[in-house]
Amino acid sequence: MNNLKTFTNGLIKENPIFTLLLGMCPTLGVTSSATNGLGMGLATAFVLIMSNLVVALIKNLIPDKVRIPSFIVVIATFVTIVEMTMQAYVPSLFESLGLFIPLIVVNCIVLGRAEAFASKNNPISSILDGAGMGIGFTLGLVILGATREFLGSGKIFNANIYPEDFGMLVFVLAPGAFIALGFLIAIINKMKQTA
């Protein structure tokens, strides 16, 4: 029961994007399409789960003073693994995500969960927390990516919904990212108030 709560916590109640507002750079930067959002979300989720697991395992070995640098090294290791795997197996996704893959290292969610959760809990609940947060983050990225792709080019996951000529190009470009996320958060706030 408790484990289930740890897992669902990240999905809705503390969704990293819509509620905690963490990890904004990749959120805005890569969500020009739902596919990119999904790829980025899964990569981040993998790093989150693995780094939470390792941090929970080694937490008693690390002196308190060098805690943060050690966490960063653990995270950077997994980011490098993701980077190399993506480059080898999904080069097209690697191209379109570009700079944002190495930047998972400085994503506040990953370090935040390592520090706030994994360094105080056992490995199993740390994995669940990482999975919950990772899936919550992926969900947020896919929703934002799908919204932008739909409004901007009339597609979702590359499937045509309406002719591309009617799309508002601005939503695929930089300003649309800010505006779409702003309205999505406003809608979620509104739903929370009425619920």
Partner: protein
């Protein structure tokens, strides 16, 4: 001429915050007052230029000759983290007034993706050392410009009557979107 192009492109056309989406966390986090925005800009400029120089030298003198480029992410983030600590200690000793002004912002910078982003971009663009310095300094100016403009607008936003759900972050994001729209007008310059 290339230098002028690099400067204009980094400040206006490819503004780090509004068109590259780097450094959004401090952009949303410390933009409630103009004074804190200016302090943050100072700290970011300082660290960004130093970090770019050091990571550039590490890449060219250590990672490239021994072909261990895959260690780039790990080594860069460690260098930046160590550098921020070092800058903090040195500033405290050498220039207390500057430390007073920038001190609180320094620890936040380690997780500012703009710093790591610029360090990696410099390598990707294959700049030489002078171009790297010019590029990082003007990127920092662009960051400051966006941050201060945004803080100015947000100070006024406190007085605006808004629907409840729009208050706080949502309206801030929409304002940022409009600002980004305005910056798109510079696209023809480069």
């Amino acid at each position: 001429m290339t230098y002028v192009l690099i400067i204009i492109s980094a400040i206006f056309v490819n503004n780090i915050v509004l068109s590259q989406f780097l450094g959004i966390c401090p952009f949303l986090g410390v933009s409630k007052r103009i004074s804190t925005a200016i302090g943050m800009t100072g700290a970011v400029t300082f660290v960004m230029v130093i970090a770019t120089i050091v990571t550039y030298l590490v890449q060219k003198l250590i990672l490239d000759p021994y072909s261990i480029g895959y260690l780039q992410t790990i080594s860069f983030i460690l260098i930046i983290a160590a550098l921020v600590q070092l800058v903090e200690i040195i500033l405290k000793k050498v220039s207390p007034p500057l430390y007073q002004a920038l001190g609180v912002f320094l620890p936040l910078i380690t997780t500012n993706c703009a710093i790591l982003g610029v360090a990696i971009m410099t390598i990707l663009k294959d700049y030489n050392l002078i171009k790297a310095v010019v590029f990082s300094a003007s990127t920092a100016v662009g960051f400051g410009l966006a941050l201060v403009l945004f803080a100015g607008i947000r100070e006024q936003l406190d007085l605006v009557d808004l629907p409840k759900g729009m208050k706080g972050t949502p309206i801030a994001l929409i304002v940022a979107g409009l600002l980004a729209l305005a910056f798109m007008g510079f696209a023809g310059l480069a």
